[in-house]
């Protein structure tokens, strides 16, 4: 139990009358890469957004059941604290256009008004950008606007921004679906590095990507968690018929 970073039991989520996530129970262990896949509209992104309580920002959204970060119930914690501990990277790169690269990385500190000495701030920026494999490309232009970077670089900047807060878990919502193949492979390579320090949960449409990067895979279908197993097991010998149909391309 104490190895589970995120654990859900009988977790449900709704958008108004739409029951998007149904009775999901899952235990996610530390320092692993978890891929969440499934056809469009299967609730995988909704489930992801429940983990850092972004789901509740949509009018008419509600949830039931328990979702825990270690032993704390995420839904009784302060959402601001939850989001410190659980970072998120979005589908489209979204650096803040009004901030420099430097300020984008430490945006989590600056926007929250946390006062940190300059030397420490510099250290955080360098460390986060290095972890996101972006330091060498931007170290000479830290004070330029983040929007000058290419799409792949912007996405790595967003990853650096999430890392800078030193979260326990980083959520990725289809992080490469808006990127070209080369940027995609550099981000996938990054996942292997990051899992040494963080737990990664990656929603993806792309089965090959799930197979390449993840230790475990969760398959969602129509709001249910159909199967959750080691990725190799899942792709070679799925236990559930629906998983097999999805992997073999019977539906998409």
């Amino acid at each position: 139990m104490e190895h589970s970073v995120i654990s859900a039991s009988n977790f449900n989520a709704w958008f108004g009358d739409n029951h998007a996530v149904k009775d999901v129970s899952i235990k996610i262990e530390k320092n692993q890469v978890i891929a969440v896949m499934g056809p469009s509209g299967c609730g995988k992104t909704t489930f992801l957004r429940c983990i850092n309580r972004m789901h509740e920002l949509v009018p008419g959204a509600r949830t039931e059941g328990t979702l825990k970060l270690y032993t704390d119930d995420i839904y009784t914690m302060n959402p601001i604290y939850v989001r410190y501990k659980i970072g998120m990277v979005f589908q489209r790169p979204n650096p803040f256009p009004n901030l420099s690269i430097y300020d984008n990385v430490v945006a989590g500190y600056k926007l929250n008004g946390l006062k940190i000495p300059k030397a420490e701030m510099d250290h955080i920026v360098e460390k986060s950008l290095t972890s996101a494999a972006l330091w060498n490309e931007v170290k000479d232009s830290l004070h330029k606007k983040g929007t000058f970077l290419s799409g792949g670089q912007q996405q790595r900047l967003c990853i650096a921004r999430a890392i800078a807060m030193e979260p326990e878990v980083i959520l990725f919502d289809e992080p490469t679906s808006a990127l070209d193949p080369i940027s995609t492979s550099s981000i996938e390579a990054l996942f292997h590095e990051l899992k040494a320090n963080y737990t990664l949960i990656i929603v993806t449409h792309n089965m090959q990507q799930a197979a390449r990067v993840s230790d475990k895979t969760a398959f969602f279908y129509l709001g249910e968690l159909v199967e959750f197993d080691n990725t190799r097991q899942m792709f070679t010998a799925p236990k559930d018929k629906r998983t097999q149909n999805y992997i073999t391309g019977r539906f998409s």
Binding site: M54, I80, F90, R92, F96, N98, G108, N112, M165
Partner: protein, 281 residues
Amino acid sequence: MDARLKVRNTKSIIFKSVIVFLAFVITIPLIIILLYIIKQGVTQVNWHFLTHVPAPVGETGGGISNALVGSIIIVALSSIIAIPVGILAGIYLSENANTRLAYYSGLCVDILQGVPSIVVGMVVYFWVVKPLGTFSALSGSVALAIMMLPIVIRSTEQTLKLLPDSLKEAALSLGVPYHRVILKIIVPCGFAGILSGIMLSVARIIGETAPLLFTAFGNPYLSAAITKPMQSLPLLIFNYATSPYDEWHNLAWGASFILLMFVLLLNIFTKLITRKWNIQL
């Protein structure tokens, strides 16, 4: 068949010529106004004109310094009142577009924009001038602030609505509280649009005469006291242009020229900003 084609071609050509001609015609009024005001006004303007108060009847010379200073003070005060209120209300309207309150207050903003300016002046007379017991620059500023509000609110709302939700989500996902997301990310990202809305609203009110007639009232002397009557450019133009003296007519032409240049510059500036940041208003 050929004949029909010819007729249709001719119709097209006529239609095109008409719209080109009309597009040209609509520029004429502005050109005439500009030329006329420049011709009448530019000869009046010199350093003396900008730094002296109007001369009494019968004397030559004199300037519009009282109106210039008055206009600047009144507009600055209106901006101080209208800009914060307008931006905050605009934020509400863009953030909560689907609520009943947003619908009705949006409706009120649109109607407010259509309220005749003289009516605004009269209402402010009863609200501010009467209770205070005197005409004042402050009451004039309140009247002009009411006229500024709809433009500031709508431009803030439109600008912020164009910003992608992903920006807000990015900030929220970092644990940033809502008010800081709005003030540190959303408003700065929409700054250019909000700024051009503010400049348009200033250009709109700086020439308003009617709301000032029963509020700022006018003052032949230089005054910076906001609780006393104060002169402004449009008031000076209104009073002096309707006077029987040629000297005063010349002052009014000079003041018109200054006012027009001001509005022109503000509009050009706004255009430059909107083009540079690629925003649509």
